[in-house]
Symmetry: C2
Subunit: 287 residues, 2 copies
């Protein structure tokens, strides 16, 4: 069992990892081996102390070298479940991984895009964020797939092969996916409707409301609602609530970086990651 | 009137300054032109993301270059008073400077040394942290001077020239100050005593309590109790209390870095400085 699992691989996660390492704690860091897109995509970084207008790409390279020097490895994966159990946590990934730890640091960034009306209400009742987890449930059924980024296109493809019919809402440019069973709709869905479970998706076209009968809605996006990952965590809109020590309402579960709210800044992420790691160390020492 | 006065020149202060600059706010940063000692004295910095084991001296040089590039100037001075007035703040320095601003960021580090019993009780009633401010009051009187660092020796010298008799408690090695009117005591004072005002200082020698009659006690140290600088600011022991936005109990007065408590880390200081500056920007925009 790990002392800590860090969910994410952005600056907050890296800051936490460096400090846990310095404190000789065992941990698993689950995210993108190539680190967060947000780092390398930054144009120029001006208000991070001691960095003199370095580019995002250069910054990302420095971080990778630092992780290598400190022998910190990112485990490639996407966490889809953090379960607070008695005295420990179980953490699951979309590809079926399952890990245990004494503490968790949520550092997986802010939820991307605006939530669709009904998204939260029907989560787990027809709405899913994970193609590999829930895809098989929709064999020969009708689904809607809302795809927010090119990087999730392969998941949309996978789903379209399982389902009888896929209504694909690509919310980015450069879609490269088509097929007999796929109908593309270049719109943002306005609502997910149903009763006990999802029954349909609405969108507007030329001022007219359109309704599609579907059994499920997959929303493929980068940042997920925090409470859809960490069950029972207290949120404030899209952000996880923490105290000044980065402790969430779940004992042993800390959060840092964009997931805790504005300002969405490197410096804030770095500071909060550091504090979260120190709080983990303190928490483990108290036990 | 400045949009903001930043009290301090450590990492929290620098981080706040960079972000205020990026947001085109006018500000004064009062501290050490040579930046905080704590930066250059660090042996090696390992858990500051994207810094690969750089030395404290190299780190300090990078910060100085960055401030120059961004045309941020540190005003040399030591703040000894922050007064919350209606809709603005008055900030005074030990050398008699007086400035006004719409907001204040306290980033002057953590109080150094343990407080002496009675220190807080008699502050302003015989206990002083400032030789130049209060020295003249002790002409031909007896004083005790507790000097915590070499850098304050010139203040001790100045006081000893005014007073009739100076009991000097040097709490560092390499004292280079003597004189007819100076009596050195290589001990830590155990208590400051008096009634309405200071009447004496106690210390222990060979298990025996010694008492010295004095009219005043000067404590010359780096980090001062936050509430002795910012009047009315709410503290929790040695730290200033803030919320997650770094707002103190005084509206428009924010705090960041070591002054807000543990962990005393560069990363935390940088993060909090950034957040404090964003809160200042938000506060100014709301007005």
């Amino acid at each position: 069992m790990f002392d800590c699992i860090i969910v994410g691989s952005g600056l907050a996660a890296i800051s936490a990892a460096l400090t846990l390492k310095a404190n000789a704690k065992s941990f698993l860091m689950i995210g993108e081996k190539n680190l967060s897109d947000k780092i390398s995509k930054a144009e120029e970084i001006h208000n991070y102390p001691a960095f003199l207008g370095v580019s995002g790409t250069a910054f990302a390279e420095l971080l990778k070298t630092q992780l290598e020097n400190e022998e910190i490895v990112v485990t490639q994966g996407r966490v889809n479940g953090v379960y607070a159990m008695k005295e420990k946590f179980a953490v699951t990934t979309q590809d079926g991984g399952m890990y245990e730890s004494k503490t968790v640091i949520l550092a997986c960034g802010v939820e991307s895009g605006k939530r669709i009306k009904g998204e939260q209400e029907f989560l787990g009742r027809g709405v899913s964020y994970c193609a590999t987890c829930d895809g098989a449930l929709y064999k020969n059924k009708k689904i809607a797939v809302v795809c927010l980024a090119k990087k999730f296109e392969h998941e949309a493809k996978y789903l379209s092969e399982i389902a009888e019919k896929t209504y694909l809402f690509p919310l980015y440019k450069g879609l490269d996916l088509s097929g007999e069973k796929i109908e593309k709709i270049i719109k943002m869905p306005s609502e997910i409707v149903g009763e006990k479970r999802v029954k349909g998706v609405l969108y507007e076209e030329k001022g007219e409301a359109k309704h599609l009968n579907v059994d499920g809605v997959f929303i493929l996006k980068e940042g997920l609602p925090p409470d859809s990952i960490a069950f029972g965590v207290e949120t404030d809109g899209v952000s996880v609530k923490t105290d000044r020590r980065m402790q969430t309402n779940l004992k042993g579960c800390f959060a840092c970086g964009d997931i805790t709210g504005r300002p969405y800044q490197y410096a804030k992420a770095v500071g909060e990651g550091n504090v979260a790691a120190h709080s983990v160390v303190e928490y483990l020492n108290e036990k």
